[in-house]
Symmetry: C2
Subunit: 408 residues, 2 copies
């Protein structure tokens, strides 16, 4: 394994351009964000934010200024608190398992959509296994939408928690979270509504005053070009959550250990950059995405678009395409050798080569899911990046189709 | 609160020198380590290590090269695996709660010393509350040592897990982990032995071949001048641990979510720096610590040394002193204004002003614990740093004793 990695890296050589589309799995962190973090490692705020010395107070300032910024951009003044954890995965665990721990005497149903991130689905199953909750999966339509009327049938007086993503991480489906959360509260006002907004943050507007029925919201730094290592859970006042891990608390009362101040400073910068020109940033990722998808559909045959066909109901950065008669994993490697970095299938599950549960839930067949490629565009993609990709990609697909064992 | 932080920072002005001794709570990360991390944010290895493209393979290389280095410096070839988490706290949670989850049908005793880090004690209590284990605390002597003969009395056939720190985080007591783990296995070979070595790593030699009875070992990046955000749990082959959090796994099978590659690259550099001149580094921290303690005992009256009086049985970086008739928290602030950064009481618990459970366990009275100051020296401290501290500290103690309500 190790030798083959080194060989693979040698095989790459130097492509004329590198275009990174795998913003689903790990973000490109721009220079400005990196530069923001550097002093916090040894010059300012490098202390523990709970300790009463200068490097500690400076660290504490980073925490509350970041929370102030989140309060502002999400219109959350006076609504609740933001908890810092180390990833979106940890924030989802805190939401689901933290809810289960705080309500474990009562049991009841945990309702999730069939296309939630695994860091929601697996903790829900753990709450079932350990604490006697019952997990119920709401189906989605062929584009990934949860129908409020369908959701209504799954919610009742015993529903303890409902968790539905604001934007799906693989196919970009933008749910009507206002309507979905309203329906839940109409049936059962005591049910807690969580939304994983990791893929919505910085892509579509989020207003927590308007989303009055939403109790918890997950955010993730690396999805907005911040550093890996910062996740956030918004918790509306009065909603009960218990820490999942135990230990010494600092300012952060729901996750033990010292807050990662340098990374949070980087995250704050990433939020600033995302929101300083929100509409322009979104327009840029949308333009790059549209150019890419249009070009691919023109130049390559036998391509399926996974997720919403109406692109106004789809995250502006998301393109998920199945290239029929091609192994997505093979295409990922072929593109990498040419400097274009994407992911395949369910991005994260690619190592084990199981087809994405999201793609299966919207009705894709195994072979269609296996040929899927996920692109996430960003404000950093240029027209030249997309044009280069449109040169490289059709050739790669052709070559692989030529040698593929999967035939029409 | 927020206004007062800004006022406090303004009150600081510019002291002639800054000396950071709070390496317990948050480490100073040297320039070389920061520079090692920078490219991993956007130039190399910025991908997800499980994805089959160049930035992913480069990321994967960081993981296995770091594990190779740990294997080498800890003499762990063929003994087991290293799991990456986000902090020492998370590694301790994985050890204790992960063990409890893997053995939850069986129950039994979890034996901890009375002076363990709270990220061991609280998860043990959680295992009791959730899974029916029973927590037993082994007392320590007045210098923090666990006597193997005493430990033996607490272990029996029902003992599931024993967790004893290699070096105490507050008072620097170096336990005889070989002897303690041997005693446990003599009584019950099926009992799992965990040691939190966060404060031993880089300070005293650790040889996992020799420590044949030790099953799990916790390490933490920030304690060796690496970045915050990397914890490691070594798990000996055959020892069963279940993930505490749930979600998408990458290479790291015991903690979901993407590995934090830039920080792990920084951690790797920190390990290299700590081990390249291990003896010299230790000699430097010991020399600075000895100079500091000797100077303080000469210049300040009514000072108690907390922890081992035989400094050969104490971590080379650790000095924990109680300044009688002084509030440690007030002294921390007074020193900060003069550019000397320390922590008080139990460092981490200082915000809530409860006396350290470690100091109480070794028999310190509340007022003695409250006047305690923790210094951790490092290879970066110069003679001038210590001399400056020895100028500033006696004056600060005098001033506070002059206005203190705590009288002799």
């Amino acid at each position: 394994m190790r030798v083959s990695v080194e060989e693979l890296l040698r095989a790459h050589g130097r492509p004329p351009r590198e275009v990174y589309f795998d913003n689903e799995n790990s973000g490109y962190v721009p220079r400005e964000v990196v530069e923001e973090m550097i002093p916090y490692f040894n010059s300012i705020g490098y202390g523990h934010p709970s300790i009463t010395h200068k490097p500690g107070w400076e660290a504490y300032e980073v925490l509350y200024k970041t929370k102030d910024l989140l309060t502002k951009v999400l219109n959350a003044e006076g609504l609740g608190e933001f908890a810092f954890v180390h990833s979106g995965t940890e924030a989802n665990n805190l939401a689901v398992l933290g809810h289960a721990l705080a309500n474990k005497g009562r049991g009841g149903k945990i309702v999730v959509s069939a296309i939630e991130h695994l860091s929601v689905i697996y903790p829900a199953e753990e709450a079932e296994r350990l604490f006697g909750f019952r997990v119920v999966r709401v189906p989605v339509d062929s584009e990934g939408f949860v129908d409020p009327e369908v959701l209504k049938e799954f919610v009742d007086g015993s529903t303890s928690l409902v968790s539905i993503q604001m934007v799906n991480h693989e196919i970009g489906t933008v749910q009507n979270i206002f309507e979905l959360s309203k329906v839940v509260k109409e049936v059962n006002p005591r049910a807690v509504f969580h939304t994983d907004a990791a893929d919505a943050f910085g892509k579509i507007p989020i207003d927590l005053k308007k989303l009055e029925h939403v109790d918890m919201v997950t955010l993730s730094s690396h999805k907005i070009h911040g550093p890996r290592g910062v996740g956030v859970l918004f918790i509306r006042e009065g909603v009960r959550v218990e820490p999942v891990l135990k230990g010494q608390l600092s300012y952060e009362k729901l996750w033990p250990g010292v807050e990662n101040v340098p990374l949070i400073a980087g995250f704050r910068k990433a939020v600033e950059l995302a929101y300083r020109d929100f509409d322009l940033n979104v327009a840029k990722m949308r333009e790059a995405r549209d150019l890419l998808v249009r070009g691919i559909l023109e130049k390559v045959s036998d391509v399926l678009v996974n997720g919403p066909s109406d692109f106004s109901m789809r995250s502006p950065d998301n393109a998920n395409l199945s290239f029929l008669y091609v192994e997505g994993e093979a295409l990922t490697v072929e593109l990498s050798i040419n400097g274009v970095y994407v992911s395949s299938g369910s991005a994260c599950t690619s190592r084990i080569l199981e087809p994405s549960h999201v793609l299966l839930a919207i009705g894709r067949k195994h072979e269609e899911a296996h040929g899927s490629i996920l692109f996430k565009t960003s404000r950093y993609h240029t027209r030249e990046d997309i044009e280069y990709t449109l040169e490289v990609l059709p050739k790669a697909v052709d070559r692989l189709r030529g040698i593929s064992t999967i035939k029409k």
